[in-house]
């Protein structure tokens, strides 16, 4: 057991505005998996026990609570599970590098439209997109058309939260007009 106290990236209480909730996801294991050249077949074999396949760009695959989310060129994040030993890939612990936020509700897309230059009209579960949250780096995963996981650098968690909060109250103020 560690003697050091673990802290969350942000430690913020959920925020519900205009029926839409912004919350911080609990810490979970995140492992970057970057397959070496020519290792596709071996990788597929090695991932089989997890019930996962390596995702195509802009996608995540999932099995139970474990998902493998595309996160960049030749790279995916294994989220919520232990990486098998001896993968034919560079394996790097990223668990503490990210803050993971959730925005869900009827205004989620309107809030994201303030910062994220992605066309989310046809958003559907299974998408994993690298983009920008205003001026922050972003890995966006679509949980449902009105529910999104947003991952950005841990050190920028406060900016991400403050700016999303600001967008939410502005969206709410607009709704009050109609």
């Amino acid at each position: 057991m560690p003697d050091l106290i673990a802290k969350p990236a942000l430690g913020a209480a959920p925020l519900t505005i205009a029926g839409t909730t912004l919350s911080e996801n609990g810490a979970t294991q995140i492992t970057a998996i970057a397959p070496y050249p020519g290792s596709q077949a071996a990788l597929a074999q090695a991932l089989r026990p997890l019930g996962l396949t390596f995702p195509a760009p802009n996608q995540f695959t999932e099995h139970g609570d474990v998902r493998l989310a595309w996160s960049g060129r030749d790279q995916a994040f294994l989220i919520g599970g232990e990486a098998p030993a001896d993968l034919p890939a560079a394996v790097t612990d990223q668990s503490d590098a990210w803050v993971s936020l959730q925005i869900a509700g009827p205004q989620a897309r309107a809030v994201l439209a303030r910062y994220v230059p992605l066309d989310l009209r046809a958003a559907s579960r299974g998408q994993s997109l690298r983009s920008a949250l205003n001026h922050l780096p972003l890995l966006l995963m679509v949980e449902a058309p009105d529910s999104y996981t947003l991952m950005t650098f841990r050190s920028m968690a406060r900016t991400a939260w403050a700016e999303l909060h600001e967008a939410m109250i502005k969206v709410e103020a607009r709704l009050a007009l109609t």
Binding site: P2, L4, I5, K7, A9, P37, D119, R121, T159, E166
Partner: protein
């Protein structure tokens, strides 16, 4: 005056607003312009140059004259078009560009001086003496000529930016845009319908036309009701599309809260970036004025605007109105005025064969040649076939024909095409990929023609997008032919205005041509025509027609100036929404942030990071006292510093060592596992990119450390090198900067502290690394030093960072040590001669910093070839040296170096200072500097001069390493 029974304003909702301190009544639905007109306020502003009284010319966003300041609780918004600003309860507006008052403007003296203020006046007059320009002429001109003013304070209003996506963007919600939206909406396409005005409908709101035998407004209401119910159609009123950009991207400005009392969190404006697969430009057309003598008096306006004021807002600009036309489009307006019980004194029609108009007198083949009325029109003079006639009138509607609003089609360098038949420019097809112009924007001026064109454009786009076009009936509407006989300017005496905002007359344009500025682009800049906030929407075509006439060319040969974004003025606050103050950049916080603040440390920005500057103790009154104490603490005891901001890149793969050899100047592949090596990285141009240490964690596993400043840059560089030069290598890398919290433990007691924190001696040689369990947490311990003392860095996953930081701090304090901040860290590294990006600032080479021996001769690396070019090495280069003042004097970074005997001037410059600090260890100020041939000049006395901070000190040139030059303490 208000006209009973007319207009779409809500008479059940009276409002009060103030203009220039006077309170007036208005109704919901009024613009500031219509409300002022209802209250018979005729002079709304003063013109830019001559300070002539300006009234209301138009009823839309193209307004050049009626510009006012809107006073809000936190904002003062200048140059607001009264024709766009909607009235709300408590609206406060102020006229601008006048002194002391709008009615008695002393700067109106400029008007009397107008013979001397013609085009090019400034260029000719203020040429000499040269020194007068900045201090006298420019402030003088700026005071006399200008528009609104700013408050001088931050705009703390709320603004936002947003993205939107659609299949079809329709710009403009007149008949063309509405029927296109209906067709596309019914077909299931994702549609955004953006309309500049508050209400959708375009000319249908202003003209009393019929559609399918019923008032057009009934058709409008039914279409809007149907569109509002379509989930795939987004109606965006009060949204002006401002620019067309690459790949179907459009800028648009939405007035979200400007039309109502400010309320918390409601944005004033939103700047949209809309990405559309296809766009239909249905922006309609702008009516154009006719230039005749004194055509700028309040009360003279566009005939189409008069229709808008009467039919949309229920107001009239006068009691006895006249029209001056060269086509039929003012006729319906004249009939509306008669029907509303107003007197129409005459229609002056320049066409000799103009039709009659019932009981309204029509002067055929006649022109207006003069006007009277100091603060508003009272009388006009006509020239008819039988002589001059004077007519009493207080409102004159100009109907000079129509210019399609094709501006957006020119935003990607498209040029419009001249149509002789319409006497107007029309859009060139394909000028903006994916955009088609339809309706009046494309030169189709009848209502029926617009409806047909809008429907056809939608059907074509829908087919193109793969939608099956749903049926939409084409309704019947007015379909009169457009017959125009061009009339740009009435020849004669007196000044005839083209550009009402910038005070450009036909004479100015002619003078421009006469003085050789005969290209339309030169004329524009010489006269300033089209350079006011309205960008010449009402004057461009007429001005170039006058120029064509003056130069004896045709209009198509003369061409137009270039329409550029934005189509309407966009406030900087909207474009920069959210970026004021803390919103300017992301804030990055270390895990120790709160612990540092708890100890009163002032936090300073280092890139995006916030780092503690120093940790004040009771009794310390200056940062220097704290800094000196912290430096001594590290040199004599032990100090703790959070170094998590340094970039950390994890590299793995069989070729990772080879890759490091390629990006670093020195060799890494030979480094044993468990060891760390310092390395220097070059850009492809041979200059130093970054420096840092890389540890070999395993046979195929490495951890690179970059500087804080260049962490992102190095990551990008590695990605580039990998993808461009060695994509097939067996190497993968990823940033782990954010995963690890890392703390430096430095000083003679560092080993003892580590032993206590780890429960065992660190057991590491200098430049060693190992995995370690740190109080139950898997982490790493490095023995590296940026201070010159025996130093370690301890890394744990970030979630444990704060706990470990507090733990290490407590242990240090029991040993007589403690925390040190950025100031002490900087002094420690200067004492040791360690470089930062103050030295490797992008213009220095490995040779310059004394590291040319680190460029391995045995292998190639990025930047090696360029670094060995002539000029990149040798005595002519400024080289890194240390400086010590001969006396106890502060040194300054940025100071320049001179030999003792030289005159202090640019030509004798010998080098410059990059870093300075006071060293309590050596009881002296120290500096790092770059000095020409510096390594050969150790021992020389050099003069350090900083003109900005009044520093002039003699220094001894030394080796850059002041402290422990042999590195004995490091390796202890």
């Amino acid at each position: 005056m208000r006209i009973d029974g007319k207009g779409r304003i809500d008479r059940t909702r009276p409002l009060t607003f103030a203009f220039d301190g006077v309170s007036y009544p208005a109704y919901k639905g009024d613009t500031l312009a219509s409300a002022l007109m209802a209250n018979d306020v005729r002079v709304v502003g003063r013109s830019f140059k001559y300070h002539r009284p300006r009234g209301i010319l138009t009823a839309g966003s193209e307004e050049p004259g009626a510009l006012v300041e809107i006073m809000g609780p936190a904002n003062q918004t200048p140059n607001t078009r009264a024709t766009v600003q909607e009235v709300f309860e408590g609206l406060t507006a102020r006229s601008q560009n006048r002194w002391p008052s709008l009615r008695w403007d002393l700067l109106g003296i400029n008007d009397l001086a107008s013979p001397f203020l013609s085009a090019g006046f400034y260029y000719k007059t203020f040429m000499w003496p040269r020194a007068f320009w900045e201090k006298i002429y420019e402030p003088l001109i700026r005071r006399a000529a200008g528009l609104g003013s700013l408050s001088g304070r931050h705009d703390e209003g709320t603004y936002e930016k947003a993205y939107a996506f659609c299949d079809l963007l329709i710009v403009g919600a007149g008949p063309t845009g509405l029927i296109a939206a209906l067709a596309a909406g019914r077909s299931g396409a994702d549609v955004i319908l953006a309309e500049d005005a508050a209400e959708m409908g375009g000319r249908l709101l202003s003209d009393e036309g019929q559609i399918d035998g019923a008032p057009a407004q009934e058709w409008l209401a039914s279409v809007l009701a149907e569109l509002a119910l379509m989930p795939n159609v987004r109606l965006m009123p009060r949204t002006a599309v401002t620019g067309a950009y690459d790949d179907g991207t459009y800028g648009a400005l939405e007035r979200v809260g400007l039309h109502r009392r400010p309320r918390p969190n409601l944005p004033r404006e939103c700047f949209w970036r809309i990405t559309a697969r296809r766009t239909i430009l249905a922006t309609g057309a702008l009516e154009r004025p006719i230039a005749f003598a004194d055509n700028d008096r309040p009360g003279i306006m566009m005939a189409s605007a008069m229709a808008s004021y009467l039919n949309r807002y229920g107001v009239s600009p006068g009691r006895k109105v006249t029209f001056f036309a060269n086509n039929d489009s003012a006729r319906a307006t004249a009939r509306s005025f008669v029907a509303a019980g107003l007197s129409v004194a005459a229609i002056i029609d320049s066409r000799p064969d103009a039709p009659d108009e019932g009981d309204i007198p029509v002067h055929k083949g006649a022109v207006v040649i003069g006007t009277k009325g100091r603060h508003g029109l009272q009388e006009i003079t006509l020239r008819t076939g039988s002589g001059e006639v004077r007519l009493e009138t207080d409102a004159l509607g100009m109907a000079g024909g129509w210019n399609p609003s094709l501006h957006l089609t020119c935003h990607m360098n498209g040029r419009p095409r001249w149509s002789a038949e319409l006497a107007a420019f029309v859009p060139s097809p394909g000028a903006v990929p994916g955009l088609v112009a339809a309706g009046a924007a494309n030169g189709t001026f009848s209502t029926h023609g617009c409806l047909a064109a809008g429907l056809a454009a939608a059907q074509e786009v829908l087919t193109d997008l793969g939608h099956k076009a749903a049926p939409v009936d084409l309704p019947q509407a007015e379909n009169a032919p457009y017959t125009i006989s061009p009339l740009w300017a009435v020849p004669g005496k007196g000044r005839a205005w083209l550009d009402f905002a910038n005070d450009v007359t036909t004479k100015d344009v002619a003078l421009s041509a006469q003085e050789g500025f005969s290209s339309v682009e030169h004329m524009k800049r010489y006269t300033t025509q089209g350079m006011a906030p309205d960008q010449g929407k009402s004057s461009n075509v007429a001005a170039l027609a006058v120029l064509a006439d003056a130069t004896g060319r045709g209009i198509p040969e003369t061409g137009t100036t270039t329409f550029r974004p934005p189509f309407v003025p966009v406030s900087i606050a909207a474009m920069g929404a959210g970026a004021r103050a803390e919103g300017f950049a992301p804030q990055r916080f270390m895990t120790s942030d709160q612990a540092s603040r708890d100890r009163g440390a002032p936090m300073i920005e280092a890139g995006l990071w916030y780092r503690p500057s120093y940790f004040p103790k009771p009794g310390e009154t200056t940062w220097r006292e704290a800094c000196d104490r912290e430096v001594a603490m590290v040199r004599n005891s032990v100090g703790i510093s959070d170094v998590s901001t340094l970039g950390k890149i994890d590299l793995q793969g069989r070729d990772a060592g080879r890759f490091l050899d390629f990006v670093y100047t020195n060799t890494f592949s030979t480094l044993p596992v468990g060891r760390v090596r310092y390395g220097v990285m070059l850009r492809e141009d041979g200059h130093v990119l970054d420096d840092g240490t890389t540890a070999r964690l395993g046979e195929n596993h490495w951890l690179m450390t970059t500087t804080t400043a260049a962490a992102g840059l190095v990551m990008r560089h590695l990605d580039f090198v990998h993808q461009a030069f060695c994509a097939d290598w067996d190497v993968r890398f990823i940033s782990v900067t954010e995963h690890w919290a890392q703390f430096a433990v430095a000083g003679p007691k560092a080993r003892d502290l580590l032993t206590s924190a780890l429960g065992a001696a660190p057991g590491l040689p200098f430049m060693g690394v190992r995995a370690a369990t740190i109080q139950g947490v898997a982490g790493r311990v490095f023995r590296i030093s940026f201070s010159g003392e025996e130093g370690y860095e301890v890394a744990v996953p970030a979630r444990y960072g704060e706990a470990l930081f507090r733990d290490l701090t407590a242990r240090a304090e029991t040993m007589g040590g403690g925390l040190y901040g950025m100031e002490a860290l900087n002094v420690l590294r200067i004492e040791k001669g360690f470089i930062t990006h103050a030295e490797i600032h992008g213009r220095t080479t490995a040779f310059d910093i004394g590291m040319e021996k680190m460029v391995s001769a045995k292998k190639d690396c990025i930047g090696k070839a360029a670094a060995s070019r002539p000029g990149m090495i040798g005595a002519a280069r400024a080289q890194l040296v240390g400086l010590k003042p001969l006396t106890d004097s502060p040194l300054t970074a940025g100071a320049h170096l001179f030999t003792q005997s030289a005159d202090v001037k640019r030509e004798t410059d010998q080098g410059y200072v990059t870093s300075v600090g006071y060293s309590p260890t050596l009881a002296s100020w120290l500096a790092l500097a770059f000095l020409h041939d510096g390594r050969a000049r150790h021992g020389e006395t050099i003069r350090l001069v900083d003109h900005l901070r009044k520093v002039d000190v003699l220094c001894t040139v030394t080796d850059p390493v002041f402290h422990d030059p042999m590195g004995e303490k490091l390796r202890a």
